[in-house]
Symmetry: C2
Subunit: 254 residues, 2 copies
């Protein structure tokens, strides 16, 4: 089993930030600066493309860590952040750029590429979870949540579908084609973000994916706006949703 190697530690803005690797996979763990009491863990999936990397998620982690006292972990997806791109990554990205330049639909390329990334990333996340739960401040039996949109959903849904340790999740903003069958196997509470005027993922496609979850508790939040205009208050809502389901109060306004 790949083990956790802590490679750097710093502290700012109420959070302790620990860089780590699990095998080849780099990530970061943010924890409350206030101390080492055992607390729930939130796994956070970053988005796709050139902005997809673990360090970029500090702003999203902050309200979960300082408002709820959670630990938050992000790892780089294959081909993203500090990880090398394979020849396959390069080919898929070239296909995507070609489709975008031609005004052709991106969906088919993104769906195929992200489904491939998910096959690699799911076992990486499971090893990371194994390793992080060795830390006494996380523990082997504490609650675990997941939050990630876009690529974070393309990877997170297959993960949640097979990973019983995750008990609440926030998803959204991904084509349903490769995910409907995963959704049917997911029964935990879900919050699902939709941009009503999404120019990439059609509204009906998002509604059909939400509909497919087998969860008894699932909430869809749809807001005016395009794909990249997700409202700040939806991030706050995700924090409250995870706080409610992982058994923590939000102690600062979120």
């Amino acid at each position: 089993m790949p083990f956790l190697q802590l490679t750097a530690e710093s502290s700012s803005n109420g959070m302790v930030e620990r860089d780590f690797t699990v095998g080849e996979v780099p990530g970061v763990l943010w924890s409350p600066a206030s101390g080492a009491a055992r607390a729930p863990l939130v796994l956070m999936g970053h988005g796709g493309g050139t902005h997809g990397e673990h360090r970029a998620m500090a702003g999203h982690a902050h309200p979960l860590v300082t408002g709820c006292g959670f630990h938050v972990a992000v790892i780089d997806a294959p081909g993203h952040g500090d990880r090398p791109r394979t020849a396959h990554d390069e080919r898929e990205i070239a296909e995507l750029r070609k489709a975008q330049a031609a005004g052709a639909p991106e969906g088919p390329v993104v769906v195929r590429y992200n489904a491939g990334l998910a096959e690699l990333a799911v076992p990486e996340w499971r090893s990371t979870l194994d390793a992080l739960r060795e830390l006494p401040e996380i523990g082997a039996d504490g609650p675990v949540g997941y939050v990630g949109i876009g690529l974070g959903t393309a990877i997170g849904m297959p993960l949640v579908a097979v990973e019983p340790r995750i008990t609440a999740a926030v998803f959204g903003m991904m084509w349903p084609d490769a995910l409907i069958e995963k959704a049917k196997r997911i029964t935990i509470p879900i919050e699902f973000a939709v941009q009503w005027d999404n120019e990439r993922v059609p509204r009906e496609a998002s509604l059909s994916l939400f509909d497919a979850f087998a969860s008894k508790e699932k909430t869809l939040h749809a807001n005016v706006g395009k794909h990249f205009e997700l409202a700040r208050f939806e991030a706050d809502s995700a924090v409250r949703f995870l706080a409610r389901h992982l058994g923590r109060a939000v102690t600062s306004p979120a």
Copy 2:
């Protein structure tokens, strides 16, 4: 202009409760027990049927009053609560019971009956608003919000469409037939509740009504459940939405 007559006052659970009438219309105004500082006003529309009456809304008013410091006013809709039923009310209610007993769609009867109630209720709400703004603790220029689902939406949407003093509203759970044209004239921020498995108002009907609002900021919250199973956390969400738009912080957890 009908004037405000305060008919009774009591206090409990952190709220001062003042019964009032404006002309023939009975209502209640809940205010923070902590004092008379000027604060925003939320108009609250009750639901339809035998449970529709102003006093039943105390539980819904409570987090707005004690958590945000708002004043909250409810009036009885025509034919509801303390108000007499006309022969027309009795005929429409008999039609509704007949449809329900036959397993026929309720929509056509409710849409027609509630549209008629709205024609009467909109001027009553506007007079009530005029009168309440004479109170120094509300004032002539403070922010005003509206919250009401079911009949509260059937009345609230025509009200908001013509009443520029209302600047944020929470709606949901009503057939769109009589309301689409109203929605097109509404431009204020909206939060809109949908029950994903609503056995009365079809999902597609709710989505089409949400789509019709002209608001630049509108949010749809869809949850698993039937018509009468609206989640408690959606009431909390409505409180936060109104606090954000009427310029108040939520000081107790909501």
